[in-house]
Symmetry: C2
Subunit: 302 residues, 2 copies
């Protein structure tokens, strides 16, 4: 396998690593070049003039995943329909136009969702394929993965293939409610006890619009400190997600839920998952996406 | 019964009516004097110097309901615990300090909710008591009422008493998601077909954070027009409320759901209720609160 430039190019940031021929990572860096901050058509020049020189990667082929493959990015790479495994996914990578040295852009995935609309994702699949590549035993049997974030993704994997997934807008609901609603708060989630009360209040996850009001009524109707609101609200939203989303996937967790993401956020998810009697194992999202890009590159040149 | 000044004094507006001794309404007017717009301590002078002269009501006693009885209003009148009927509610009205002629401020209600936190409301109870007063037959048996709005209230009434209620933050969720999230839209709900698709997508109301994402994925993953997003999102949120909130109240609708509120919003609720196989009857919220204030005044001087 050859040396290459691995890029997780998302909405807000671009994370890039130089991977040597033997698989060792020589350098890695995050750039404030998310596709939401780019002018149309700007992606190739930013990669060539800023990212490559900063990492000494002027001559390397590149593999890119994430929103860079959307209509906001470099070129729109169509969604692949589930089920999809890593080999099939790698084969659908699209050569980037106007790139020398060459770059390949990963597609997104599309699958059936809990409504008539399809589910879509772009970028998280590479974390999933990376997590699978980190331990080949994971490609056997059924696995339930949760990738927390602004739009949390729950992914069901069977024998190494993504068969379906669901997106929960938990992080974004927390943001907009914390900033713009009657549940306004300082967004600092730091109180384990209030968080646990929120998870408890989530119940079976039904009636969320009603359960949410308890974040207000516990303060005005029962004297709870307003300073607890961020932690309680976070627990309520995460608790409702955990209680209801696996059901939407028709996925009884066959073993521990694999939590892949930012370690501190995964810690809160892990706490909530344990509180409802399930188990979780946590994996670093950055390491997973890098492993995924390395796996895609290996398939590309195989 | 004597002539009086009836005031529904809420967060954003004050609606006032002069009611003659025989019960006829002589004048009515809305003032931009909601408690959220008042300086602390300002309520009595605004009532005396602006509202009373505008309606020729300088000499009348007044009955006030709504957020004017909260800590943002004139004086904080404690919540009454359910069950509460109209007579008990009227007896708990609080004489307003520093008011000549006299004014009485209604309390709010508190009851058990779907979480460990109590449920609270302030103002909607007067619409409920007004609706009951409009037809004494309504005080017999079990009734399920829905008052749509920023914070929709679902109220269970047994033999004329409010026994419990639930608040759904449906209107506020629509607002903050339409303005500040990836589901950003022009907030014009005008497409019956997209609305109905949203109601359908709400399913049993569980997994709301996941179902919400379909408002995005149907556009990016299935080519639905972005212009439908407001209507679809409204249907999804209202559909989820209707599917899940009555269950939180342990209330199988014993007959038609009584929808009390702004006629156009009630029209959308009515459409969604019919779509899921239930029935609703719609009543004007302004008429209901006025009838409630008249009933409270009658109890006061009885």
């Amino acid at each position: 396998m050859g040396a290459f430039l691995a890029c997780d190019w998302g909405t807000t940031h671009l994370r890039a690593w130089v991977v040597e021929a033997g698989g060792a990572v020589r350098a890695g860096r995050t750039f404030p070049l998310g596709v939401a901050r780019l002018q149309p058509g700007e992606a190739p020049t930013r990669l060539r003039d800023e990212v490559r020189p900063a990492l000494g990667a002027e001559a390397l082929p590149a593999v890119l995943c994430g929103m860079i493959g959307s209509n906001l990015g470099w070129i729109q790479v169509p969604y692949l329909d589930c089920p999809v495994d890593a080999a099939g996914f790698a084969a659908a990578m699209h050569p980037a136009p106007d790139s020398e040295p060459p770059a390949w852009i990963a597609p997104g995935l599309r699958g059936p969702g809990p409504t008539a609309a399809p589910e879509v994702l772009r970028g998280e699949e590479t974390q999933v394929f990376g997590w699978l590549a980190q331990d080949p035993a994971r490609t056997i049997g059924t696995r339930l993965l949760c990738l927390p974030g602004t739009h949390a993704k729950w992914v069901l994997v069977e024998d190494g293939a993504v068969v379906r997934f669901v997106t929960a807008m938990t992080g974004e609901l927390f943001e907009v409610l914390s900033r713009h609603s009657v549940l306004r708060n300082d967004a600092s989630v730091d109180d384990w006890q209030a968080f646990a009360a929120g998870v408890e209040a989530a119940g079976d996850g039904g009636g969320l619009a009603a359960r949410l009001f308890s974040a207000r009524s516990r303060v005005v109707g029962a004297g709870a400190p307003a300073a607890e609101t961020a932690s309680y609200l976070s627990g309520l939203l995460i608790g409702a997600e955990i209680a209801s989303v696996p059901r939407l996937l028709n996925a009884a967790a066959p073993g521990p839920i694999a939590l892949i993401g930012e370690p501190s956020l995964c810690g809160w998810y892990s706490k909530a998952i344990e509180q409802v009697g399930l188990t979780a194992l946590t994996y670093d999202g950055g390491e997973a996406v890098l492993a995924g890009l390395i796996a895609l590159n290996a398939y590309r040149i195989a």
